[in-house]
């Protein structure tokens, strides 16, 4: 006579469970595994503290493209970080912020951030989750207060739903918002350029690309180290200080004069799309960067020891190097619809020039 009892118990439990699920207590976001490209080191981002989920990434994408994160609702992260330019500000030396202001530095492309320990040209930000706080609160970017952003999000039913789907309940706070943004940013992995396919034996360089790669390995790779095309160090390559911006780079963070005019070595992945170049965007083409390395460098006590006698580059070598740099363009990354603004298809044309409208 024990079975009926058991059956009743199971039934009751079943009813309780469905009730619980219907009440909306059921929380199981869809985990997403972070794919490490073949041959790459393990990422530095601590995924245990912020496990990737489909819902978290989607929320992050909504936030990234939401202009409500700015004071007057005119600027989103995506305004300054455009997919067409590998998430730099396409064709802009400096970016436009709130109320016709300008940023003081060039917006770098955003990709492979999971392997990056510090952020910004001077490495001032020490965690990816902290990065959004800077543009949101900066007067020359989004000019908004964090408390106000949270209030605006809390008002939207859609956001309460998205936060619940990602984190289990409707609470919205700075930590959840920035974790969601990080989840989206972490998915921006660029590892499918021609160079990568050649490395995997799936494609071959044509002669100029091959020669360019050889020159690159001799003259550039000690700083623009594979596979990220940066060693993430801070170096002075002899770019003289701009008299108006007076940007001392890494020294602003460490306070040490040995770090004067040092900036993080930028990745060269997608470099043909990320012009203008340099921390303040003063170089409008790769050719002008090359001219800098061979002719225009201004040597100072903190100039990198590898560059003390500048870089000798012949016109021929520059041609081959440029051919190689083209192989670092990852068109599947630049046109991946998963990274585009939600609801909008990916645009394959260059963004409209905001100076002209």
């Amino acid at each position: 006579m024990r079975y009926p009892k058991t059956i009743v118990t199971i039934l009751c439990l079943g009813i309780l469970c469905t009730g619980w699920i219907q009440m909306g207590n059921y929380f199981r976001p869809t985990p997403i595994r972070f794919q490490v490209p073949k041959g790459w080191p393990q990422p530095l981002y601590n995924f245990k503290e912020n496990p990737l989920t489909k819902e978290g990434i989607e929320l992050g994408r909504q936030l990234f493209y939401d202009t409500r994160l700015s004071k007057d609702g005119s600027i989103s992260c995506g305004t300054c970080h455009q997919q067409f330019g590998a998430f730099n500000t396409y064709d802009h030396n400096l970016s436009h912020g709130f109320n016709n202001s300008l940023t003081t530095r060039n917006a770098p492309g955003l990709f492979n951030l999971a392997w990056q320990k510090e952020f910004m040209w001077d490495g001032g930000i020490n965690h990816l989750d902290l990065q959004p706080l800077a543009p949101i609160t900066a007067e020359n970017e989004m000019a908004e207060s964090l408390a106000h952003v949270i209030q605006k999000l809390e008002k939207e039913k859609e956001y309460r739903k998205l936060f619940k789907a990602a984190f289990g309940d409707e609470a919205i706070n700075t930590q959840r918002m920035t974790k969601a943004l990080s989840q989206f940013l972490l998915t921006l992995v660029s590892s499918n350029s021609k160079y990568d396919r050649v490395k995997m034996g799936l494609d071959t360089f044509i002669l100029p690309e091959k020669l360019g790669y050889e020159i690159f390995q001799k003259k550039c790779v000690s700083c623009h180290t594979e596979p990220f095309f940066t060693d993430f160090s801070y170096r002075n390559i002899g770019i003289p200080v701009d008299p108006f911006l007076k940007d001392l780079g890494r020294m602003k963070i460490t306070g040490e004069s040995k770090d004067s005019l040092k900036f993080r070595v930028p990745s060269l992945r997608n470099v043909m799309r990320t012009f203008p170049y340099g921390h303040d965007g003063r170089f409008f083409s790769v050719l002008s960067v090359m001219e800098h390395y061979r002719k225009n460098m201004v040597l100072s006590p903190t100039t990198d020891s590898l560059l003390k006698s500048r870089l000798s580059l012949s016109n021929f070598e520059i041609g081959q190097l440029t051919a190689f740099l083209y192989t670092l363009t990852d068109s599947s990354f630049l046109s991946n619809p998963a990274f585009a603004a939600p609801g909008k298809g990916i645009s394959t044309t260059a963004p409209v020039d905001i100076h002209n409208n």
Binding site: N50, L130, L133, T174, Q175
Partner: protein
């Protein structure tokens, strides 16, 4: 001795903020060195890692919490912790936020960056903040603003505070004297501190001496 059998009690720590001998009230005028007139609008600091020493000399380490003491928020100026029942003669805490929380992303509660105690362009907490106006200041609005932070080597501004007194049981009052911040600091010459560095460290050394203890039960 059976630890599990030990009874617990609540200990209230009051933070009484003063300027010299007077109570620190926002917008009220104070005199510095007999010549300078001072008004303080903001005065906030983090307290964490509170520990107690009992009369037997044993150190009690309650679970760590972070508190933001703020003269503009009456509630924030008393802190309650649960400790074993007993009699205490020493209290220690960290004025500021430990290095590990400065490098672990976005935190919640008192440490939420929306409290305005976080530098976004150079990651790290502002351990303590004092803002106001002074007749000796020569910048716009006669202001002075001291945002003190920095956790890296040579820039550390969190300070360990150790205070001793006669035995207390359920409550203790810690006096914080804002005037101590300004020892050897010239508001005329150094009206602003907004980044880690030598001025921040000098002021941190000053505020490490601002606390004293008084027992009222």
């Amino acid at each position: 001795m059976m630890v599990s059998a030990q009874k617990k009690q609540v200990l209230t720590i009051w933070f009484e903020n003063r300027f010299g001998k007077e109570r620190l009230i926002p917008e009220q005028t104070f005199y510095l060195n007999g010549t300078d007139t001072l008004v303080i609008n903001r005065f906030k600091y983090y307290v964490s890692h509170i520990q107690l020493t009992n009369t037997a000399g044993k150190t009690i380490v309650p679970e760590n919490q972070y508190y933001l003491i703020d003269i503009a928020d009456e509630k924030s100026t008393s802190v309650q912790i649960t400790v074993p029942e007993g009699s205490y003669t020493g209290i220690q805490f960290l004025l500021g936020v430990d290095s590990s929380r400065n490098v672990s992303g976005v935190q919640t509660g008192a440490l939420d960056p929306l409290n305005g105690m976080f530098w976004t362009w150079n990651s790290g907490y502002i351990m303590a903040k004092m803002e106001g106006t002074a007749s000796s200041s020569m910048i716009a609005g006669k202001q002075f603003t001291y945002h003190i932070g920095g956790f890296r080597q040579h820039q550390q501004t969190a300070r360990n505070i150790r205070l001793q007194t006669t035995p207390f049981h359920t409550s203790v009052t810690i006096v914080a004297d804002a005037e101590k911040w300004l020892e050897g600091i010239s508001i005329a010459k150094e009206p602003v501190c907004h980044s880690p560095g030598t001025l921040a460290v000098r002021i941190a050394d000053n505020y490490s001496k601002m606390f004293s203890i008084s027992v009222k039960e």
